[in-house]
């Protein structure tokens, strides 16, 4: 075989292997998606939304408590995490810029974004649950907020840096003080990017289970009191799916389906926003 023929053969082999692995990867993922949809859709009925949790075997059993609990926890974490993240990102982009402190904050935030979320759960257990004496929705909120802030902070930092400096200079040239330049001009210019960052941050945090396991813990009943343990979709999924009861498992799949659709929805909206921005 000539050298060229050998190279072409190697090339063919590698191409086939790569395409094969792509298909293997995609096949597994399609498998997971399909069972999610099949099991999820078949388990969804009006009862899921009408009833709170109940012991296995009960007819009137649903996810209302978990859905509302999840909503409360996520929206509270968002309400705290987003403003803090945006302001922190503002510091990095507009004041700290490339200073040593700013870069250290960026690096640590990046690392935090990949750090194990269960460790954060244990931290919150120590500083919130133990002093309070019991699990609570607030503990769950704090855990999720800690996870969310670095994400929002970094995307805000990136998006603000994309705003051209001449835009800022033009506002300064009109005699605007710095905070107005930031709020009126820079935020507006980065509006879409920041919003996308927020959506993706929410999507990421909505899927977390581990940090809630021993902070907000769980509750089978509907409660809106953040001072008490609170149900969440993710922990409920975990409990129900690992139980030996079929009806609970079925409800678990319904929860999985609802959660995935919510998260995928946020991701897709985020991507659409990016695309419309690029199209301008």
């Amino acid at each position: 075989m000539t050298a060229i023929e050998k190279r072409m053969l190697t090339n063919k082999i590698v191409m086939i292997l790569s395409t094969l692995s792509a298909f293997i990867g995609i096949a597994f993922l399609l498998w997971i998606l399909s069972i999610l949809i099949i099991n999820g859709v078949s388990a969804i009925n009006w009862e899921i939304f009408a009833f709170e949790g109940a012991p296995p075997g009960y007819e009137e059993s649903g996810l209302k408590h978990a859905l509302i609990g999840q909503l409360i926890i996520i929206s509270t974490a968002t309400a705290i995490g987003v403003p803090l993240g945006i302001l922190g990102g503002t510091y990095l982009s507009e004041y700290g810029q490339q200073s040593k402190l700013a870069n250290i904050i960026r690096d640590i935030s990046d690392i935090m974004m990949s750090a194990p979320s269960i460790v954060i759960g244990s931290f919150v257990y120590a500083v919130v649950v133990i002093p309070m004496g019991h699990f609570s929705g607030w503990a769950g909120v704090i855990a999720l907020t800690i996870i969310m802030i670095p994400i929002i902070l970094r995307t805000t930092d990136d998006m603000l840096q994309l705003v051209p400096s001449t835009l800022r200079e033009a506002a300064f040239a009109l005699g605007a003080p710095k905070y107005k330049v930031i709020i009126n001009i820079v935020y507006r210019g980065a509006k879409v990017g920041i919003l996308t960052g927020i959506l993706l941050g929410i999507a990421r945090v909505a899927g977390e289970t581990a940090p809630l396991l021993f902070t907000s813990f769980n509750d089978n009943f509907l409660s809106t009191d953040l001072n008490e343990p609170m149900a969440s979709l993710t922990v409920t999924m975990y409990n129900y799916a690992t139980s030996p009861y079929e009806d609970w498992q079925s409800i678990g799949w319904a929860a999985a389906f609802i959660l995935s659709m919510f998260i995928l929805g946020l991701n897709i909206i985020g991507r659409l926003l990016i695309m419309t921005r690029k199209g301008k």
Binding site: A22, I32, Y95, D107, S114, F123, Y179, G207, N267
Partner: protein
């Protein structure tokens, strides 16, 4: 007036940004403090003892640590080749029209919460392992495979990103000399993107080792090191997830905190290595 508002605004943003560092330092401190009881009771043996017996108040973390290491190693062995294959496919093979939809699908799959991978593993993969190997079907092997599938989308996406940074003109120069696709990948793309590719792998490793929900469903939480990789085992996150709510003594809690602290140190180190040695150019972590 605006001067005051300016100063207040600037200082608020600075304080908030700085508090990120404070929180991280606080996390390390709290975990360390809460591990002290266990550290004083067991010393270095904590990491080497294999006996984890809550009712005897003896806590040896080796099974959990080994479990984390082995399951992650297994996951990497399975996921890395496939991820590279997918990345090559996305970056060089797929026709332009398919690149975007498939690429986006992979990224969306990376967004699926890990708890769902765990559920799938429990209901659909465990029976298969049971059929092939016998036993419970729950154990290190199953956990390794589920973990591999879970980090696959992330790994493939970041590896593809790393490969995409190769400038087109570099690739074109190689093609112009008569190179095949594999030549270009082997001689141009991989050397150019080497740092990014390795860094992405290590980053995925850092994430995998801290992964809880994908493996909690299928590992079993048995504190035993066994030569049989299909036997039930445990890892640090699995132990924490299962036992934090069951712990009843100070020492038990302290041992769990020490496990958590060890996990934090390990993953922080791995992710930092990925970030500072390999991913200097990109900033996506």
């Amino acid at each position: 007036m605006s001067n005051i508002i300016d100063k207040v605004f600037e200082h608020s943003t600075r304080i908030i940004a700085f508090s990120v560092l404070l929180i991280v330092a606080w996390i390390f401190t709290v975990l360390f403090q809460n591990s002290l009881d266990s550290m004083q009771a067991f010393g270095f043996d904590f990491i080497t003892d294999t006996k984890w017996a809550p009712n005897l108040e003896k806590f040896g973390a080796l099974p959990a640590i080994m479990g984390s290491v082995i399951s992650t190693f297994l996951a990497m062995v399975l996921a890395v080749p496939v991820a590279i294959g997918v990345a090559i496919f996305l970056s060089e093979i797929a026709p332009e029209k398919l690149k975007s939809p498939i690429g986006v699908s992979i990224e969306l799959l990376a967004a699926i919460p890990s708890v769902i991978y765990g559920m799938w593993g429990l209901f659909y993969f465990v029976p298969i392992i049971r059929d092939i190997f016998g036993g419970l079907g729950i154990g290190m092997l199953t956990a390794g495979i589920v973990l591999a599938i879970m980090i696959l989308p992330f790994m493939a996406a970041v590896t593809r990103d790393a490969m995409d940074t190769t400038p087109d003109i570099l690739k074109e120069s190689a093609y112009a000399l008569g190179g095949t696709k594999w030549d270009v990948i082997k001689d141009i793309i991989i050397p150019y993107a080497k740092a990014g590719i390795i860094g992405s792998m290590i980053l995925a490793l850092g994430r995998a080792i801290g992964e809880t929900m994908a493996v909690t469903f299928v590992m079993g939480n048995v504190h035993k090191i066994s030569l049989d990789i299909t036997a039930p085992a445990t890892s640090i996150p699995v132990t924490l997830a299962n036992e934090f709510t069951e712990a009843d003594t100070e020492l038990y809690f302290s041992s769990l905190f020490e496990l958590s602290f060890i996990l934090l140190l390990i993953s922080f180190t791995i992710i930092s290595i990925a970030k500072f040695y390999f991913l200097r150019k990109t900033r996506r972590a």
